[in-house]
Symmetry: C2
Subunit: 264 residues, 2 copies
C-alpha cells in the first residue's frame, strides 16, 4: 500500500532496557524479547511486588516500563496466563492468580462423585509436627538429609465419608511459623494459606499414581478393611523456578468417587 520508498520502519535504536545478545553473538544464546519480559514479570511476581489477587500494571504501562511495544508485553502476559500465573479480565485488567478461585480448587484435587458432580469437602487435621528429613524426602525437596521439615497428616471427608488421607512434607525453612493451631484456624485450601501466609505459590505439580492395598494403619483411618484397593498418589509440587516445595503422599478411597483426568 504505502508507496514510500526507503522504507525501514521499526528496528528502534537498541536502547531497550533488555537485549537479546550482548555483543557480536548472533544466535547461540538467542532469547526472544517477550521471553525476557516474561522473566522480568515473573521476578516481580516472585518478589511480591504484585501479590496474589492484586491487579498488575496495564499492558501500556508495562510496555513503557520495559521499553518495548505493547504487543511484546501482550505475548509475555499471554504465556503467563496460559501457565496460570496471571488471569486476564477484559475491561478490568490483569490479576495475579490465586488458589482461592473456584477453578484453582479443582486443578489440584480432581476428585468427582460417580455422577460427575464436584462435592465440597472438609479437612480434618490429624497431625502436624516438625522433624528431620529422611534421605528420600530430602532428595525430593532438594534439601540435605536431616534438614528440618514439617509433616502434616490430614483427612478429607466428602459428604461425611473419609475419602482422602494425606501426608504432606514441607521444607522447615520456608514454612517456619507453621503450627497445628494456624492450620486449624485457617479456612479454605491449603495452597491458599501457603501463598497468603508464607509467600509460597504452588505453580505446578507432578503425580505418580498407583493402585495399592491399604495397610492396616491407613485402612483404619479411612474406615476400610485392610487390603482394600486404594489410589496412591505421590505428588511433588513446584514453585517459581521449578523449585520443589512440597512432597505429598495421598491415599484415595475411590468407591463413589473417581480421579478425573483429561488427556489433550
Amino acid at each position: 500500500m504505502s508507496a514510500n520508498p526507503a522504507s525501514n520502519a521499526n528496528p528502534p535504536a537498541p536502547e531497550s532496557g533488555v537485549s537479546a545478545s550482548a555483543s557480536a553473538s548472533p544466535s547461540p544464546t538467542f532469547s526472544p524479547l517477550y521471553q525476557q519480559i516474561k522473566g522480568l514479570i515473573t521476578q516481580s511476581l516472585e518478589s511480591g511486588e504484585w501479590k496474589p489477587g492484586e491487579i498488575i500494571p496495564s499492558e501500556v504501562e508495562l510496555a513503557a516500563r520495559y521499553k518495548v511495544s505493547q504487543g511484546t508485553v501482550r505475548k509475555a502476559i499471554d504465556e503467563l496466563a496460559a501457565d496460570n500465573l496471571l488471569v486476564r479480565r477484559q475491561g478490568k485488567g490483569t490479576f495475579v492468580a490465586t488458589h482461592n478461585e473456584e477453578r484453582a480448587q479443582f486443578r489440584f484435587l480432581r476428585l468427582l462423585a460417580d455422577d460427575g458432580a464436584e462435592h465440597p469437602h472438609v479437612s480434618r487435621l490429624l497431625e502436624c509436627r516438625r522433624l528431620r528429613a529422611s534421605a528420600d524426602i530430602a532428595r525430593q525437596l532438594d534439601l540435605r538429609p536431616a534438614d528440618p521439615v514439617v509433616l502434616i497428616k490430614r483427612l478429607l471427608q466428602f459428604d461425611g465419608d473419609s475419602t482422602v488421607l494425606d501426608e504432606i512434607w514441607l521444607p522447615g525453612g520456608v514454612f517456619r511459623g507453621l503450627t497445628a493451631e494456624r492450620l486449624a484456624e485457617y479456612k479454605g485450601p491449603l495452597y491458599a494459606m501457603f501463598e497468603a501466609e508464607f509467600g509460597t505459590r504452588m505453580i505446578r505439580a507432578s503425580e505418580k499414581i498407583r493402585a495399592v492395598a491399604a495397610e492396616p494403619a491407613v485402612a483404619d483411618v479411612l474406615h476400610v478393611p485392610a487390603g482394600f484397593p486404594l489410589l496412591s498418589v505421590e505428588r511433588v509440587s513446584y514453585t517459581y523456578g521449578d523449585r520443589p516445595v512440597e512432597v505429598r503422599r495421598g491415599w484415595y478411597v475411590t468407591t463413589g468417587y473417581y480421579y478425573q483426568n483429561d488427556l489433550s
Copy 2:
C-alpha cells in the same frame, strides 16, 4: 513517527470471505475473525484436504485464501498447534499432527517404570468381534442401543510383564472394515491405525481413574491373584466436534510402573 494526518489505516472494506455478524447485529453473536479461520482450517483437516503428516499451505497462502492478514492466520494456527492438531516446524512449514510421533505416544498412555523411564511395550490381541451396543456403551458413544459396535480386547506387555488389559468399544459404522486380521498386521499405535485406515483422529480423551480389586477373569489374564489392587481407567475419546468415538476400559498393574500425571 509518520506525521501523516487523516490517519485511518487498516479497516479494509468488509469484503472478507468470512464475516463476524451478518447484518446489523453488533455484538450478540460476535466471533473473532481468527476463530472463524480456525474453524475453516479445522474443516479442511476433518474433510481430509490435508492428511495426517502432510504439510499444510504456508501462512501467507492461507492468508491470501481467506482474505485476512498473516497475523490472523497465525493466531488461528497458534491455537490449533496448542490443541495438538497441527505441528509447527520453523523453516519448514506447518504439518498435520499424527499419532505416529514419539511425543503423541506418551500423551495417551502415561505409564512409566518406577525409575521414571519410558519402556517400550508390545500389544497382544486377545479378541476382536462385532456385537450390539449395550445401553451404557451406546449412551457413551452417542449411538442408539443395539447399534453395531466393535469390541477389542488386548493385552499390553512391558518388558514381558503383562501390565495392561484393555477393552475397547468402537462405533461399528465408522470402523466398518476393522477385523482381527487387520489389527494383527498393523504395527504401531492403535490410534495411528485409526487415523490412517479409518480417517478417525482422536483429539482428546477424558479418563475416570479408580483403584479396584481384580476380578478373577481379569486377574487371570494379568497374572495377578484375584483381589489384587489394579488401576481402573475408563476412557472416552473424542474426535472433531467433540464427538465420542471410543470407549475404553483398562486395568493397569501398577507394581513396577506408575501412571504419570502433571497438574499445571
